[in-house]
Amino acid sequence: MIGRLFSARLTWVALAILVIGATLPLYVTGYILGILTLAYYFGVFAMAWDLLFGFAGEVNFGPTFLVGLGAYTAGIINANWGWPMAACVLAGALMAVGGGVLLALPALKLKGPYFGLVTLVAVLLLQNFIVIFAGITGGEIGLTVPDVLFIDDAANYEFALGFMALSGAILFGLSRSPIGLILQASGQDAVETAALGFNVAKHKLAAFCVSAFFSGTAGALMIFYLGTASVGTVVDIAVGVQVIIAAVLGGRRTILGAAVGAIFLILAGEALRPLGELSTFVVSAVALAVILFFPNGFIGSLLRVGERS
Protein backbone atom coordinates (compact mmCIF):
# COMPACT_ATOMS: atom_id res chain seq x y z
CA MET A 1 0.00 0.00 0.00
CA ILE A 2 2.73 2.39 1.04
CA GLY A 3 4.70 1.22 -1.96
CA ARG A 4 1.79 2.07 -4.24
CA LEU A 5 1.39 5.47 -2.60
CA PHE A 6 5.06 6.11 -3.13
CA SER A 7 4.97 5.06 -6.74
CA ALA A 8 2.00 7.35 -7.22
CA ARG A 9 4.03 10.10 -5.61
CA LEU A 10 6.92 9.14 -7.89
CA THR A 11 4.66 9.74 -10.87
CA TRP A 12 3.86 13.24 -9.62
CA VAL A 13 7.52 13.97 -8.93
CA ALA A 14 8.43 12.80 -12.43
CA LEU A 15 5.68 14.96 -13.95
CA ALA A 16 6.78 17.99 -11.97
CA ILE A 17 10.38 17.53 -13.08
CA LEU A 18 9.22 17.17 -16.68
CA VAL A 19 7.22 20.40 -16.52
CA ILE A 20 10.19 22.26 -15.02
CA GLY A 21 12.41 20.66 -17.66
CA ALA A 22 10.07 21.83 -20.43
CA THR A 23 10.34 25.44 -19.29
CA LEU A 24 14.14 25.41 -19.22
CA PRO A 25 14.56 27.04 -22.69
CA LEU A 26 13.06 30.20 -21.16
CA TYR A 27 16.03 30.85 -18.91
CA VAL A 28 19.14 28.87 -19.89
CA THR A 29 21.54 29.33 -22.79
CA GLY A 30 21.49 27.36 -26.01
CA TYR A 31 24.75 25.73 -25.02
CA ILE A 32 23.25 24.08 -21.96
CA LEU A 33 20.17 23.11 -23.98
CA GLY A 34 22.45 21.37 -26.47
CA ILE A 35 24.13 19.36 -23.74
CA LEU A 36 20.81 18.38 -22.20
CA THR A 37 19.45 17.37 -25.61
CA LEU A 38 22.27 14.86 -25.98
CA ALA A 39 21.80 13.75 -22.38
CA TYR A 40 18.12 12.97 -23.05
CA TYR A 41 18.93 10.70 -26.02
CA PHE A 42 21.57 9.11 -23.84
CA GLY A 43 18.94 8.60 -21.17
CA VAL A 44 16.87 6.56 -23.62
CA PHE A 45 19.90 4.35 -24.40
CA ALA A 46 20.35 3.73 -20.68
CA MET A 47 16.66 3.02 -20.03
CA ALA A 48 16.54 0.55 -22.92
CA TRP A 49 19.64 -1.15 -21.51
CA ASP A 50 18.09 -1.35 -18.05
CA LEU A 51 15.09 -3.23 -19.44
CA LEU A 52 17.45 -5.94 -20.70
CA PHE A 53 19.76 -6.02 -17.71
CA GLY A 54 17.56 -5.13 -14.75
CA PHE A 55 14.54 -7.10 -15.85
CA ALA A 56 15.52 -9.80 -18.32
CA GLY A 57 18.85 -10.33 -16.49
CA GLU A 58 20.91 -10.16 -19.67
CA VAL A 59 24.30 -8.47 -19.36
CA ASN A 60 24.56 -6.66 -22.66
CA PHE A 61 28.06 -5.18 -23.04
CA GLY A 62 27.16 -3.83 -26.41
CA PRO A 63 24.28 -1.39 -26.11
CA THR A 64 25.98 0.55 -28.87
CA PHE A 65 25.54 -2.37 -31.27
CA LEU A 66 21.81 -1.64 -31.29
CA VAL A 67 22.25 2.13 -31.10
CA GLY A 68 24.86 2.12 -33.87
CA LEU A 69 22.77 -0.11 -36.16
CA GLY A 70 19.83 2.26 -35.86
CA ALA A 71 21.94 5.37 -36.28
CA TYR A 72 23.98 4.19 -39.24
CA THR A 73 21.04 2.59 -41.06
CA ALA A 74 19.08 5.82 -40.83
CA GLY A 75 22.11 7.91 -41.76
CA ILE A 76 23.15 5.81 -44.76
CA ILE A 77 19.63 5.71 -46.19
CA ASN A 78 19.25 9.45 -45.73
CA ALA A 79 22.63 10.32 -47.19
CA ASN A 80 22.54 7.94 -50.16
CA TRP A 81 18.90 7.67 -51.17
CA GLY A 82 17.48 10.81 -49.62
CA TRP A 83 14.46 9.17 -48.00
CA PRO A 84 12.43 11.47 -45.75
CA MET A 85 13.65 11.61 -42.17
CA ALA A 86 10.72 9.78 -40.59
CA ALA A 87 11.17 6.84 -42.95
CA CYS A 88 14.91 6.76 -42.17
CA VAL A 89 14.28 6.70 -38.43
CA LEU A 90 11.74 3.92 -38.86
CA ALA A 91 14.18 1.93 -41.00
CA GLY A 92 16.88 2.44 -38.39
CA ALA A 93 14.58 1.27 -35.61
CA LEU A 94 13.58 -1.83 -37.60
CA MET A 95 17.22 -2.63 -38.36
CA ALA A 96 18.03 -2.34 -34.66
CA VAL A 97 15.17 -4.71 -33.86
CA GLY A 98 16.69 -7.13 -36.35
CA GLY A 99 20.00 -6.75 -34.51
CA GLY A 100 18.19 -7.31 -31.23
CA VAL A 101 16.77 -10.61 -32.51
CA LEU A 102 20.27 -11.57 -33.65
CA LEU A 103 21.58 -10.92 -30.13
CA ALA A 104 18.62 -12.65 -28.50
CA LEU A 105 19.37 -15.96 -30.22
CA PRO A 106 22.65 -16.55 -28.36
CA ALA A 107 21.21 -15.00 -25.19
CA LEU A 108 18.66 -17.79 -25.01
CA LYS A 109 21.46 -20.35 -25.15
CA LEU A 110 24.35 -18.73 -23.33
CA LYS A 111 24.88 -17.47 -19.82
CA GLY A 112 26.68 -14.63 -18.08
CA PRO A 113 30.17 -13.93 -19.38
CA TYR A 114 29.66 -15.87 -22.63
CA PHE A 115 26.71 -13.77 -23.66
CA GLY A 116 28.57 -10.66 -22.52
CA LEU A 117 31.42 -11.54 -24.84
CA VAL A 118 29.11 -12.10 -27.82
CA THR A 119 27.66 -8.63 -27.37
CA LEU A 120 31.14 -7.15 -27.04
CA VAL A 121 32.25 -8.92 -30.22
CA ALA A 122 29.11 -7.68 -31.99
CA VAL A 123 30.17 -4.09 -31.31
CA LEU A 124 33.75 -4.71 -32.42
CA LEU A 125 32.54 -6.32 -35.66
CA LEU A 126 30.15 -3.47 -36.38
CA GLN A 127 32.95 -0.98 -35.76
CA ASN A 128 35.31 -2.88 -38.06
CA PHE A 129 32.76 -3.06 -40.84
CA ILE A 130 32.00 0.63 -40.60
CA VAL A 131 35.71 1.40 -40.96
CA ILE A 132 36.21 -1.08 -43.82
CA PHE A 133 33.22 0.03 -45.87
CA ALA A 134 34.24 3.64 -45.50
CA GLY A 135 32.87 4.40 -48.97
CA ILE A 136 29.28 4.06 -47.77
CA THR A 137 29.63 4.69 -44.04
CA GLY A 138 32.15 7.51 -43.99
CA GLY A 139 34.57 5.33 -42.04
CA GLU A 140 36.50 6.88 -39.18
CA ILE A 141 35.75 10.43 -40.26
CA GLY A 142 32.01 9.97 -39.93
CA LEU A 143 28.94 10.22 -42.11
CA THR A 144 27.31 13.56 -42.76
CA VAL A 145 23.52 13.41 -42.99
CA PRO A 146 21.84 16.02 -45.17
CA ASP A 147 18.66 16.38 -43.10
CA VAL A 148 18.51 17.81 -39.59
CA LEU A 149 15.74 17.53 -37.04
CA PHE A 150 15.26 21.23 -36.23
CA ILE A 151 17.43 24.28 -36.65
CA ASP A 152 16.28 25.86 -33.41
CA ASP A 153 17.98 24.79 -30.14
CA ALA A 154 14.81 25.02 -28.09
CA ALA A 155 12.80 22.95 -30.58
CA ASN A 156 15.48 20.26 -30.59
CA TYR A 157 15.51 20.32 -26.81
CA GLU A 158 11.75 20.00 -26.40
CA PHE A 159 11.64 17.21 -28.96
CA ALA A 160 14.36 15.23 -27.15
CA LEU A 161 12.67 15.80 -23.81
CA GLY A 162 9.35 14.65 -25.19
CA PHE A 163 10.94 11.61 -26.80
CA MET A 164 12.67 10.65 -23.54
CA ALA A 165 9.49 11.16 -21.53
CA LEU A 166 7.44 9.04 -23.93
CA SER A 167 10.05 6.26 -24.09
CA GLY A 168 10.47 6.39 -20.32
CA ALA A 169 6.72 6.13 -19.76
CA ILE A 170 6.39 3.15 -22.12
CA LEU A 171 9.42 1.33 -20.72
CA PHE A 172 8.47 2.08 -17.12
CA GLY A 173 4.88 0.97 -17.71
CA LEU A 174 6.12 -2.19 -19.37
CA SER A 175 8.47 -2.95 -16.47
CA ARG A 176 5.64 -2.55 -13.93
CA SER A 177 3.20 -4.65 -15.97
CA PRO A 178 2.77 -8.41 -15.61
CA ILE A 179 5.17 -8.79 -18.53
CA GLY A 180 7.85 -6.95 -16.56
CA LEU A 181 7.25 -9.23 -13.61
CA ILE A 182 7.60 -12.35 -15.75
CA LEU A 183 10.77 -10.90 -17.28
CA GLN A 184 12.20 -10.24 -13.85
CA ALA A 185 11.34 -13.77 -12.78
CA SER A 186 12.95 -15.30 -15.87
CA GLY A 187 16.03 -13.20 -15.32
CA GLN A 188 16.43 -14.46 -11.78
CA ASP A 189 15.39 -18.09 -12.19
CA ALA A 190 14.56 -19.16 -15.72
CA VAL A 191 13.87 -22.79 -14.81
CA GLU A 192 11.33 -22.00 -12.13
CA THR A 193 9.63 -19.42 -14.34
CA ALA A 194 9.28 -21.97 -17.10
CA ALA A 195 7.97 -24.48 -14.57
CA LEU A 196 5.25 -21.99 -13.62
CA GLY A 197 4.12 -22.12 -17.23
CA PHE A 198 5.57 -18.91 -18.64
CA ASN A 199 7.32 -18.89 -21.96
CA VAL A 200 10.76 -17.56 -21.01
CA ALA A 201 12.12 -17.51 -24.55
CA LYS A 202 9.19 -15.51 -25.89
CA HIS A 203 9.38 -12.92 -23.12
CA LYS A 204 13.13 -12.49 -23.41
CA LEU A 205 12.89 -12.14 -27.17
CA ALA A 206 10.23 -9.48 -26.67
CA ALA A 207 12.48 -7.65 -24.20
CA PHE A 208 15.32 -7.65 -26.73
CA CYS A 209 13.03 -6.31 -29.46
CA VAL A 210 11.64 -3.53 -27.26
CA SER A 211 15.07 -2.55 -25.99
CA ALA A 212 16.49 -2.60 -29.52
CA PHE A 213 13.57 -0.57 -30.87
CA PHE A 214 14.13 2.26 -28.40
CA SER A 215 17.93 2.13 -28.71
CA GLY A 216 17.75 2.24 -32.50
CA THR A 217 15.16 5.03 -32.62
CA ALA A 218 17.13 7.11 -30.12
CA GLY A 219 20.34 6.51 -32.07
CA ALA A 220 18.71 7.53 -35.36
CA LEU A 221 17.15 10.65 -33.85
CA MET A 222 20.43 11.60 -32.23
CA ILE A 223 22.34 11.62 -35.51
CA PHE A 224 19.61 13.74 -37.12
CA TYR A 225 20.12 16.14 -34.24
CA LEU A 226 23.91 16.10 -34.56
CA GLY A 227 23.95 16.10 -38.36
CA THR A 228 26.69 13.44 -38.42
CA ALA A 229 27.07 9.80 -37.47
CA SER A 230 30.49 8.70 -36.28
CA VAL A 231 31.93 5.64 -34.60
CA GLY A 232 33.05 7.76 -31.66
CA THR A 233 29.55 8.98 -30.83
CA VAL A 234 27.26 6.00 -31.45
CA VAL A 235 29.30 2.78 -31.76
CA ASP A 236 32.53 2.93 -29.76
CA ILE A 237 32.78 0.65 -26.75
CA ALA A 238 33.52 3.67 -24.57
CA VAL A 239 30.02 4.97 -25.37
CA GLY A 240 28.53 1.60 -24.43
CA VAL A 241 30.46 1.64 -21.17
CA GLN A 242 28.98 5.05 -20.39
CA VAL A 243 25.48 3.72 -21.00
CA ILE A 244 26.10 0.84 -18.59
CA ILE A 245 27.63 3.13 -15.97
CA ALA A 246 24.67 5.49 -16.29
CA ALA A 247 22.14 2.71 -15.71
CA VAL A 248 24.00 1.21 -12.74
CA LEU A 249 24.66 4.65 -11.28
CA GLY A 250 21.01 5.71 -11.45
CA GLY A 251 19.85 2.42 -10.03
CA ARG A 252 19.38 -0.81 -11.92
CA ARG A 253 15.89 -2.24 -12.26
CA THR A 254 14.26 1.19 -11.95
CA ILE A 255 14.20 2.34 -15.64
CA LEU A 256 13.77 5.98 -14.57
CA GLY A 257 17.02 5.81 -12.61
CA ALA A 258 18.87 5.02 -15.83
CA ALA A 259 17.74 8.32 -17.34
CA VAL A 260 18.71 10.20 -14.17
CA GLY A 261 22.13 8.52 -14.22
CA ALA A 262 22.65 9.39 -17.89
CA ILE A 263 21.77 13.07 -17.39
CA PHE A 264 24.01 13.19 -14.32
CA LEU A 265 26.94 11.60 -16.18
CA ILE A 266 26.72 13.99 -19.13
CA LEU A 267 26.29 17.06 -16.92
CA ALA A 268 29.10 15.98 -14.59
CA GLY A 269 31.40 15.42 -17.55
CA GLU A 270 30.54 18.90 -18.78
CA ALA A 271 30.89 20.57 -15.37
CA LEU A 272 34.30 18.99 -14.89
CA ARG A 273 35.52 20.10 -18.29
CA PRO A 274 37.89 22.70 -16.73
CA LEU A 275 39.80 19.74 -15.24
CA GLY A 276 40.73 18.77 -18.78
CA GLU A 277 41.88 15.21 -19.18
CA LEU A 278 41.26 14.44 -15.54
CA SER A 279 37.48 14.87 -15.89
CA THR A 280 36.95 11.29 -17.11
CA PHE A 281 39.04 10.11 -14.17
CA VAL A 282 36.89 11.98 -11.67
CA VAL A 283 33.60 10.84 -13.24
CA SER A 284 34.78 7.19 -13.20
CA ALA A 285 35.94 7.54 -9.61
CA VAL A 286 32.57 8.96 -8.54
CA ALA A 287 30.75 6.18 -10.39
CA LEU A 288 32.99 3.57 -8.74
CA ALA A 289 32.34 5.08 -5.31
CA VAL A 290 28.57 4.98 -5.91
CA ILE A 291 28.77 1.34 -6.98
CA LEU A 292 30.84 0.43 -3.92
CA PHE A 293 28.87 2.34 -1.31
CA PHE A 294 25.36 2.66 -2.78
CA PRO A 295 25.00 -0.36 -5.04
CA ASN A 296 21.32 0.44 -5.61
CA GLY A 297 22.15 3.73 -7.28
CA PHE A 298 20.48 7.12 -6.86
CA ILE A 299 16.87 6.20 -7.49
CA GLY A 300 17.23 2.71 -6.05
CA SER A 301 18.42 4.12 -2.72
CA LEU A 302 15.59 6.68 -2.72
CA LEU A 303 13.03 3.97 -3.33
CA ARG A 304 14.48 1.92 -0.47
CA VAL A 305 14.10 4.83 1.90
CA GLY A 306 10.57 5.41 0.62
CA GLU A 307 9.59 1.79 1.22
CA ARG A 308 11.00 1.79 4.71
CA SER A 309 9.26 4.95 5.90
Binding site: P106, L110, Y114, L117, L125, N128, F281, A287
Partner: protein
Protein backbone atom coordinates in the same frame (compact mmCIF):
# COMPACT_ATOMS: atom_id res chain seq x y z
CA UNK B 1 60.29 -16.90 -46.92
CA UNK B 2 57.05 -15.13 -46.10
CA UNK B 3 55.81 -18.39 -44.58
CA UNK B 4 58.78 -18.57 -42.24
CA UNK B 5 58.39 -14.91 -41.36
CA UNK B 6 54.74 -15.47 -40.42
CA UNK B 7 55.74 -18.54 -38.42
CA UNK B 8 58.35 -16.63 -36.39
CA UNK B 9 56.38 -13.42 -35.83
CA UNK B 10 53.23 -15.35 -35.08
CA UNK B 11 55.04 -17.48 -32.52
CA UNK B 12 56.43 -14.51 -30.64
CA UNK B 13 53.14 -12.62 -30.53
CA UNK B 14 51.22 -15.75 -29.59
CA UNK B 15 53.55 -16.48 -26.67
CA UNK B 16 52.93 -12.99 -25.39
CA UNK B 17 49.17 -13.43 -25.75
CA UNK B 18 49.43 -16.73 -23.92
CA UNK B 19 51.25 -15.16 -20.99
CA UNK B 20 48.82 -12.25 -20.83
CA UNK B 21 45.78 -14.51 -20.85
CA UNK B 22 47.09 -17.10 -18.39
CA UNK B 23 46.78 -14.90 -15.33
CA UNK B 24 43.36 -13.74 -16.46
CA UNK B 25 42.01 -17.26 -16.86
CA UNK B 26 43.66 -18.54 -13.68
CA UNK B 27 41.92 -15.86 -11.69
CA UNK B 28 38.56 -16.66 -13.22
CA UNK B 29 39.08 -20.35 -12.53
CA UNK B 30 39.98 -19.84 -8.88
CA UNK B 31 37.92 -16.88 -7.74
CA UNK B 32 35.32 -16.41 -10.50
CA UNK B 33 36.51 -12.85 -11.14
CA UNK B 34 36.73 -11.47 -14.67
CA UNK B 35 39.05 -8.52 -14.28
CA UNK B 36 38.22 -5.92 -16.92
CA UNK B 37 41.06 -3.66 -15.76
CA UNK B 38 43.48 -6.28 -17.12
CA UNK B 39 44.70 -4.14 -20.02
CA UNK B 40 45.18 -1.13 -17.75
CA UNK B 41 47.31 -3.12 -15.32
CA UNK B 42 49.49 -4.39 -18.17
CA UNK B 43 49.97 -0.90 -19.57
CA UNK B 44 50.58 0.55 -16.10
CA UNK B 45 53.37 -1.99 -15.53
CA UNK B 46 54.85 -1.19 -18.95
CA UNK B 47 54.77 2.56 -18.39
CA UNK B 48 56.35 2.09 -14.94
CA UNK B 49 59.17 0.12 -16.59
CA UNK B 50 59.57 2.94 -19.13
CA UNK B 51 59.70 5.62 -16.41
CA UNK B 52 62.12 3.72 -14.18
CA UNK B 53 64.42 2.83 -17.07
CA UNK B 54 64.34 6.49 -18.08
CA UNK B 55 65.34 7.69 -14.61
CA UNK B 56 68.06 5.13 -14.13
CA UNK B 57 69.84 5.97 -17.33
CA UNK B 58 68.09 3.35 -19.39
CA UNK B 59 69.07 0.18 -17.58
CA UNK B 60 66.47 -2.16 -19.09
CA UNK B 61 66.83 -4.88 -16.42
CA UNK B 62 66.05 -2.59 -13.48
CA UNK B 63 63.25 -1.00 -15.48
CA UNK B 64 61.70 -4.38 -16.27
CA UNK B 65 61.96 -5.44 -12.63
CA UNK B 66 60.35 -2.22 -11.45
CA UNK B 67 57.60 -2.59 -14.04
CA UNK B 68 56.73 -6.10 -12.88
CA UNK B 69 56.76 -4.88 -9.27
CA UNK B 70 54.37 -2.09 -10.19
CA UNK B 71 52.08 -4.58 -11.95
CA UNK B 72 51.93 -6.51 -8.69
CA UNK B 73 51.10 -3.36 -6.71
CA UNK B 74 48.32 -2.50 -9.18
CA UNK B 75 46.90 -6.01 -8.92
CA UNK B 76 46.77 -5.75 -5.12
CA UNK B 77 45.22 -2.29 -5.38
CA UNK B 78 42.54 -3.68 -7.71
CA UNK B 79 41.77 -6.51 -5.33
CA UNK B 80 41.67 -4.50 -2.12
CA UNK B 81 39.91 -1.35 -3.32
CA UNK B 82 37.48 -2.79 -5.86
CA UNK B 83 37.00 -6.54 -5.97
CA UNK B 84 37.07 -7.44 -2.29
CA UNK B 85 34.69 -4.70 -1.11
CA UNK B 86 32.19 -5.75 -3.83
CA UNK B 87 32.47 -9.43 -2.92
CA UNK B 88 31.94 -8.66 0.76
CA UNK B 89 29.23 -6.05 0.36
CA UNK B 90 25.95 -6.97 2.03
CA UNK B 91 23.97 -4.59 -0.15
CA UNK B 92 24.86 -6.47 -3.34
CA UNK B 93 22.91 -9.69 -3.87
CA UNK B 94 25.08 -12.75 -4.47
CA UNK B 95 23.75 -13.41 -7.98
CA UNK B 96 24.64 -9.88 -9.02
CA UNK B 97 28.20 -9.86 -7.68
CA UNK B 98 29.51 -10.80 -11.11
CA UNK B 99 28.09 -7.78 -12.95
CA UNK B 100 29.24 -5.49 -10.14
CA UNK B 101 32.77 -6.87 -10.32
CA UNK B 102 32.68 -6.40 -14.10
CA UNK B 103 31.43 -2.81 -13.87
CA UNK B 104 33.72 -1.98 -10.95
CA UNK B 105 36.90 -3.29 -12.56
CA UNK B 106 35.89 -1.60 -15.83
CA UNK B 107 35.64 1.78 -14.06
CA UNK B 108 38.87 1.13 -12.21
CA UNK B 109 40.57 0.33 -15.52
CA UNK B 110 39.32 3.60 -17.01
CA UNK B 111 40.70 5.46 -13.98
CA UNK B 112 44.14 3.88 -14.41
CA UNK B 113 44.05 4.59 -18.14
CA UNK B 114 43.15 8.25 -17.61
CA UNK B 115 45.77 8.66 -14.89
CA UNK B 116 48.47 7.29 -17.22
CA UNK B 117 47.32 9.55 -20.04
CA UNK B 118 47.31 12.55 -17.69
CA UNK B 119 50.77 12.06 -16.21
CA UNK B 120 52.63 10.46 -19.12
CA UNK B 121 50.41 11.30 -22.16
CA UNK B 122 48.81 8.68 -24.36
CA UNK B 123 51.73 8.58 -26.81
CA UNK B 124 53.00 5.07 -27.53
CA UNK B 125 55.93 4.07 -25.36
CA UNK B 126 58.61 1.52 -26.16
CA UNK B 127 61.00 0.10 -23.61
CA UNK B 128 64.50 -0.82 -24.76
CA UNK B 129 64.60 -4.60 -25.22
CA UNK B 130 66.55 -6.76 -22.79
CA UNK B 131 68.37 -8.41 -25.68
CA UNK B 132 69.21 -6.01 -28.53
CA UNK B 133 70.26 -7.00 -32.02
CA UNK B 134 68.99 -9.11 -34.87
CA UNK B 135 70.10 -12.41 -36.35
CA UNK B 136 69.54 -14.15 -39.61
CA UNK B 137 67.36 -17.24 -39.28
CA UNK B 138 67.26 -19.15 -42.61
CA UNK B 139 67.17 -15.87 -44.47
CA UNK B 140 64.64 -14.12 -42.23
CA UNK B 141 65.90 -11.15 -40.26
CA UNK B 142 64.67 -11.83 -36.75
CA UNK B 143 65.15 -9.47 -33.80
CA UNK B 144 66.74 -11.35 -30.90
CA UNK B 145 64.16 -9.66 -28.72
CA UNK B 146 61.41 -11.70 -30.37
CA UNK B 147 63.21 -14.91 -29.45
CA UNK B 148 63.84 -13.66 -25.93
CA UNK B 149 60.15 -12.75 -25.55
CA UNK B 150 59.03 -16.22 -26.54
CA UNK B 151 61.59 -17.87 -24.23
CA UNK B 152 60.69 -15.71 -21.23
CA UNK B 153 56.97 -16.30 -21.78
CA UNK B 154 57.37 -20.04 -21.88
CA UNK B 155 59.77 -20.07 -18.92
CA UNK B 156 57.25 -18.14 -16.82
CA UNK B 157 54.38 -20.39 -17.91
CA UNK B 158 56.56 -23.41 -17.05
CA UNK B 159 57.30 -22.01 -13.60
CA UNK B 160 53.60 -21.42 -13.08
CA UNK B 161 52.90 -25.04 -14.00
CA UNK B 162 55.48 -26.21 -11.44
CA UNK B 163 53.98 -23.92 -8.82
CA UNK B 164 50.44 -25.15 -9.35
CA UNK B 165 51.21 -28.84 -9.69
CA UNK B 166 54.24 -29.37 -7.47
CA UNK B 167 53.92 -27.08 -4.46
CA UNK B 168 51.55 -27.26 -1.52
CA UNK B 169 50.05 -23.80 -1.92
CA UNK B 170 49.71 -24.39 -5.63
CA UNK B 171 47.72 -27.53 -4.99
CA UNK B 172 45.43 -25.61 -2.65
CA UNK B 173 44.94 -23.13 -5.48
CA UNK B 174 44.01 -25.93 -7.86
CA UNK B 175 41.64 -27.41 -5.30
CA UNK B 176 39.99 -24.04 -4.76
CA UNK B 177 39.30 -23.77 -8.47
CA UNK B 178 37.61 -27.17 -8.43
CA UNK B 179 35.61 -26.89 -5.22
CA UNK B 180 35.96 -23.79 -3.03
CA UNK B 181 33.66 -25.11 -0.33
CA UNK B 182 35.64 -28.34 -0.01
CA UNK B 183 38.84 -26.37 0.46
CA UNK B 184 37.26 -24.30 3.23
CA UNK B 185 36.04 -27.47 4.95
CA UNK B 186 39.58 -28.81 4.92
CA UNK B 187 40.66 -25.79 6.94
CA UNK B 188 42.23 -23.58 4.29
CA UNK B 189 41.50 -19.89 4.35
CA UNK B 190 39.93 -18.93 1.03
CA UNK B 191 40.98 -15.30 1.39
CA UNK B 192 44.66 -16.30 1.49
CA UNK B 193 44.10 -18.40 -1.64
CA UNK B 194 42.63 -15.31 -3.32
CA UNK B 195 45.61 -13.20 -2.29
CA UNK B 196 47.94 -15.83 -3.74
CA UNK B 197 46.04 -15.87 -7.02
CA UNK B 198 46.12 -12.06 -7.24
CA UNK B 199 49.86 -12.16 -6.55
CA UNK B 200 50.41 -14.61 -9.39
CA UNK B 201 48.10 -12.59 -11.59
CA UNK B 202 49.93 -9.34 -10.85
CA UNK B 203 53.33 -10.81 -11.66
CA UNK B 204 52.08 -12.42 -14.89
CA UNK B 205 50.29 -9.27 -16.06
CA UNK B 206 53.36 -7.20 -15.15
CA UNK B 207 55.74 -9.39 -17.13
CA UNK B 208 53.36 -9.50 -20.09
CA UNK B 209 53.00 -5.73 -20.04
CA UNK B 210 56.74 -5.06 -19.89
CA UNK B 211 57.46 -7.58 -22.66
CA UNK B 212 54.74 -6.04 -24.79
CA UNK B 213 56.34 -2.63 -24.36
CA UNK B 214 59.66 -4.07 -25.54
CA UNK B 215 58.12 -5.89 -28.48
CA UNK B 216 55.37 -3.66 -29.89
CA UNK B 217 55.15 -0.68 -27.55
CA UNK B 218 52.16 0.27 -25.43
CA UNK B 219 49.81 3.23 -25.25
CA UNK B 220 47.08 4.06 -22.77
CA UNK B 221 44.69 4.14 -25.75
CA UNK B 222 45.31 0.44 -26.35
CA UNK B 223 43.98 -0.64 -22.96
CA UNK B 224 40.57 -1.71 -24.21
CA UNK B 225 41.99 -3.76 -27.06
CA UNK B 226 44.33 -5.59 -24.65
CA UNK B 227 41.50 -6.49 -22.28
CA UNK B 228 39.29 -7.55 -25.19
CA UNK B 229 41.98 -9.81 -26.66
CA UNK B 230 42.64 -11.48 -23.29
CA UNK B 231 38.90 -11.92 -22.81
CA UNK B 232 38.44 -13.47 -26.26
CA UNK B 233 41.43 -15.80 -25.88
CA UNK B 234 40.15 -16.98 -22.54
CA UNK B 235 36.61 -17.60 -23.80
CA UNK B 236 37.92 -19.31 -26.92
CA UNK B 237 40.05 -21.62 -24.80
CA UNK B 238 37.38 -22.20 -22.23
CA UNK B 239 36.90 -20.02 -19.14
CA UNK B 240 39.15 -21.17 -16.33
CA UNK B 241 41.15 -23.65 -18.43
CA UNK B 242 44.83 -22.65 -18.56
CA UNK B 243 45.84 -25.16 -21.25
CA UNK B 244 42.82 -24.13 -23.33
CA UNK B 245 43.95 -20.51 -23.15
CA UNK B 246 47.45 -21.47 -24.29
CA UNK B 247 46.08 -23.18 -27.40
CA UNK B 248 43.63 -20.34 -28.03
CA UNK B 249 46.44 -17.79 -27.72
CA UNK B 250 48.27 -19.50 -30.58
CA UNK B 251 45.11 -19.75 -32.68
CA UNK B 252 44.44 -16.04 -32.19
CA UNK B 253 48.08 -14.98 -32.61
CA UNK B 254 48.55 -16.90 -35.86
CA UNK B 255 45.18 -15.93 -37.31
CA UNK B 256 45.97 -12.27 -36.72
CA UNK B 257 49.49 -12.55 -38.15
CA UNK B 258 48.25 -14.46 -41.21
CA UNK B 259 45.53 -11.92 -41.91
CA UNK B 260 47.90 -9.02 -41.41
CA UNK B 261 50.54 -10.43 -43.76
CA UNK B 262 48.35 -12.03 -46.43
CA UNK B 263 45.27 -9.80 -46.60
CA UNK B 264 45.73 -6.43 -44.93
CA UNK B 265 46.66 -5.19 -41.46
CA UNK B 266 43.34 -3.32 -41.41
CA UNK B 267 41.41 -6.62 -41.29
CA UNK B 268 43.66 -8.11 -38.61
CA UNK B 269 41.10 -8.71 -35.88
CA UNK B 270 38.06 -9.65 -37.99
CA UNK B 271 38.67 -13.40 -38.60
CA UNK B 272 39.29 -13.90 -34.89
CA UNK B 273 36.06 -12.12 -33.97
CA UNK B 274 34.09 -14.23 -36.45
CA UNK B 275 35.70 -17.42 -35.14
CA UNK B 276 34.85 -16.35 -31.63
CA UNK B 277 31.18 -15.84 -32.46
CA UNK B 278 31.12 -19.22 -34.19
CA UNK B 279 32.77 -21.04 -31.27
CA UNK B 280 30.54 -19.38 -28.71
CA UNK B 281 27.44 -20.43 -30.70
CA UNK B 282 28.50 -24.00 -31.37
CA UNK B 283 30.56 -24.80 -28.30
CA UNK B 284 29.95 -22.17 -25.62
CA UNK B 285 32.31 -23.80 -23.13
CA UNK B 286 35.23 -23.10 -25.48
CA UNK B 287 37.91 -25.48 -26.69
CA UNK B 288 38.84 -27.13 -23.39
CA UNK B 289 36.36 -25.59 -20.97
CA UNK B 290 34.39 -27.53 -18.43
CA UNK B 291 30.81 -26.65 -17.70
Amino acid sequence: MLGLQILIDGFAISSLYALGATGFTLMFGVSGVLNLSHGSIMVAAAVAAWVIAGYLGGNPYLGALGGVGFGLIMAYATYFTVVRPIQRSKAIPKEETEIFVLTGTLLWGIMIQEAIAYFYTSNPKTVRPLVPGVFNFLGVRTPLNEVATAIICWAVIGLLWLLVNRTRSGKVLLAASINPRGVTLLGFELSSVYILVWTIYGILAGIAGVLLAMFLGVSSDGVGALTASAFSIVVLGGLGSVSGSLIAAYVVGYMETLTAYLISPAYRTIPVLLLLVLVVYIRPQGLLGRR
